[in-house]
Amino acid sequence: MKPKSLLSRKVQLAFGSAILTLLVVGAVSYRGMVVSSESDRWVRHTHEVLEKLLDLLSAMQSIDSSYRGFVLTGKESYLESYRASILSAEQDEATVRNLTVDNPIQQRQLPALERLAVQKIQYAETVISLRRTKGLEAAVDAIRSGPGQQIIDEFQGVVREMQDEELRLLVLRNADAKRHLGQTKAVLILGTVLGLLIAAGAGWGVQRDSSGRGLAEEALRDSEEKYRMLLDEVQDYAIFMLDPRGRIVSWNAGAERIKGYKAEEIIGHNFSCFFPPEDIKRGKPEKVLRMTAASGRHEEQDMCVRKDGSRFLASVTFTALRDPAGSLRGFSEISRDLSESEESGAKYRGLLEAAPDAMVVVNQGGKIVLLNVQAEKQFGYRRDELVGQKVKNIIPEGFAERLIADGTRTAAEALAQQIGTGIELTGRRKNGSDFPIEIMLSPRESAEGILVTAAIRDITERKKSEEHLMKTVGELKRSNDELQQFAYVASHDLQEPLRMVASYTQLLAQRYKGRLDSDADEFIAYAVDGSNRMQGLIQDLLAYSRAGINGKVLREISSENALKEALTNLRATIEESGAVVTHDSLPAITTDHTQLAQVFQNLVGNAIKYRSAEVPHVHVSATKNGGNEWIFSVRDNGLGIDPQYFERIFILFQRLHGPKEFKGTGIGLAICKKMLERLGGRIWVESQPEKGSTFYFVLPERDGK
């Protein structure tokens, strides 16, 4: 192995010689350039003097022609141009004087020029005043006889001499410049050849020690490799370089993962393939590069396209790379897939996909960042058609407005308004059809600003069944109202003719009993009985149809007082039958007092009415069940009921006994059932024939009491 110092000494020597040569070449070239530019200056100077001389001559000719013009026409406008020409002649003369100040030959000619010019002007003035005082004829004569033309000819002669002098100088100066150029060329060629020789020598010297060079290169490669590995390690960011025209020149692992291209597939291609087609059409890739080049750095959040055509929202930073001299060498691009950042990582995606509803994640700008398969299905789009689109496209109203803080709302207010459950809006499918949706919004702050996750549920079916339910409920209510009305009107209107029948058969019975034959008496008795029974039925029907209509004001009442009221109404019955009615302590309950008293009255009344041979014993009690209901019971020692009739006894006009055994229409229990059901309760019976019955009824406990 050769000592390193020897190599560097050779290299130093080679560099030293090369630099020396360059200095010499540089100095000679500089000198050549200075001289050459001096010569150039003189050549330019000569052209300038020639030009000005011509200007001067034409100014003089213009003086001549304009004063003649005045003389011939008498028009003042000629005098204006005459005076302007004098001015420019004076200026041109002064310029020529300045330009030729270094040349004594030319300076010597100047007094002659000046003298001739003054003569010409003096003569012109004379003729002008002649024209004004003596008229055209005198002036024309003066021109003809005067020395005007002669002066101009002399003037031209002097100018020509000066021009000749300048042209002579021009030839001399051109030759001078050519000579200097030749010298410079020679030096440059010589210097270049020398430089090449030295470079070749140094190259040969360096080549001789390839192992040394290998070391240096290895060190460089090593450092480059480390740097590349560092970049490659980065998985979360796509990091790559572009040349000034936007072609990709490097590619890291993150880029491969995020964008889906392998390095060998993408290097050399233009980076515009990462943009959606519509952006390319608008010339966005070029615009991004221009903006980056202008400002040095450009950041944005927008949609990017993967190799498979799918889209994702990315945060992208472009940086312009410049060499020390400031010329653009390319760009670096660092981008990150926002849809996979933190909360929207793989887990979050999994969660979204598992959700039974359509899920859409929207950023503050109202663009869709992420969505699940249900969202694709519900709205009829492919995922990549929706990502990056405005959420307004699928939910035209009521959603995007909640996202954006504007002049009237601060971001905090906008955020507060986003929180919501069960907001009913309208969704729009790809095919343009609308459908009702319910959305739940859950906003959260993230590194990319506020992201809102919306769970969207298609509620078409629910709406349909709601509508159906509402319709059915409406129909049911109408039918109930009609029925109620019918029952009331029917019983009321039936009652009138029936009253006539009953009254007159009774009148007949009272006035003619025993005055007709015995058959007549019997027939009349049946008619009276029938009409009386009919009246009873109608009255009960009326009572039943009215039950629960009035007095639905629920307040806390004492159920014990309700029972006492019922017992007061039943006093006659109780006394007559010798019944013993007992009760436990009964609770305070929120319900309707009148109806509860009616229920007690009917139940206790029945208990006494359908008694066995024994003295009737009736006991009323109440217990609270596991839920929040009170269970009341009315127990008797009466006839009891066959279990097969447990349901039937609560039906209107259903009786277990004929009118001869027990009077009644079969309304009492039906009314109890109706009233209790209207109060939110229910009623049933437990019984065995000949062992007595227990009627239970339940009322809900309200207001937590």
Binding site: H492, L498, R499, M500, S503, Y504, Q506, Q535, Q539, N550
Partner: protein, 153 residues
């Protein structure tokens, strides 16, 4: 006693406003046993009742009633309107009006008293009840109560 003896001499004019002939007949039957002599006039609907009270047309010579028995559910002009018109009329409002109707509706009862009905009776559905009610009207309104005597024009 002297008072009631004196009233026997002068017949009492009663206007029954009732559309059911059966009820009219029953009312007549009931009044048959009345202690006082009653002239029962009948109007079968509200319009006729107002014509009677205003002595219009064929009613030009009818007497002013001392008591009106008024049914509520009537053809043409309703009993409620008749009641309102009577009680708004300065000349008629002093005549006691007894509402005698099949309606037991709380609304009808309240409304009638608000319109200054003098009493409200629901017709009992059985014959004896009805007869008893009419008799009690007779004994209370036509015997016990002092009715206003306005100069007959």
């Amino acid at each position: 006693m002297m008072e009631s003896m004196a009233s026997v001499a002068v017949p009492i004019e009663v206007l029954l406003v009732e559309d059911s002939p059966g009820d009219v007949r029953l009312t007549r039957e009931a009044f048959k046993d009345a202690k006082v002599h009653i002239n029962l006039h009948v109007a079968s609907d509200g319009t006729e009742a107002m014509a009677f009270l205003g002595r219009e047309g064929k009613h030009a010579n009818v007497p002013r009633p001392d008591l009106i028995l008024l049914d509520l559910n009537l053809p043409k002009k309703d009993g409620r309107e008749v009641l309102e018109e009577i009680k708004e009329s300065p000349t008629l409002k002093s005549i006691p009006v007894v509402i005698l109707t099949t309606s037991a509706s709380e609304m009808d009862i309240l409304r009638s008293y608000r319109l200054h009905a003098n009493c409200y009776i629901t017709k009992p559905v059985d014959l004896n009840g009805f007869l008893k009610v009419v008799k009690s009207i007779d004994s209370f309104w036509l015997s016990v109560v002092k009715l206003p005597r306005e100069p007959r024009s």
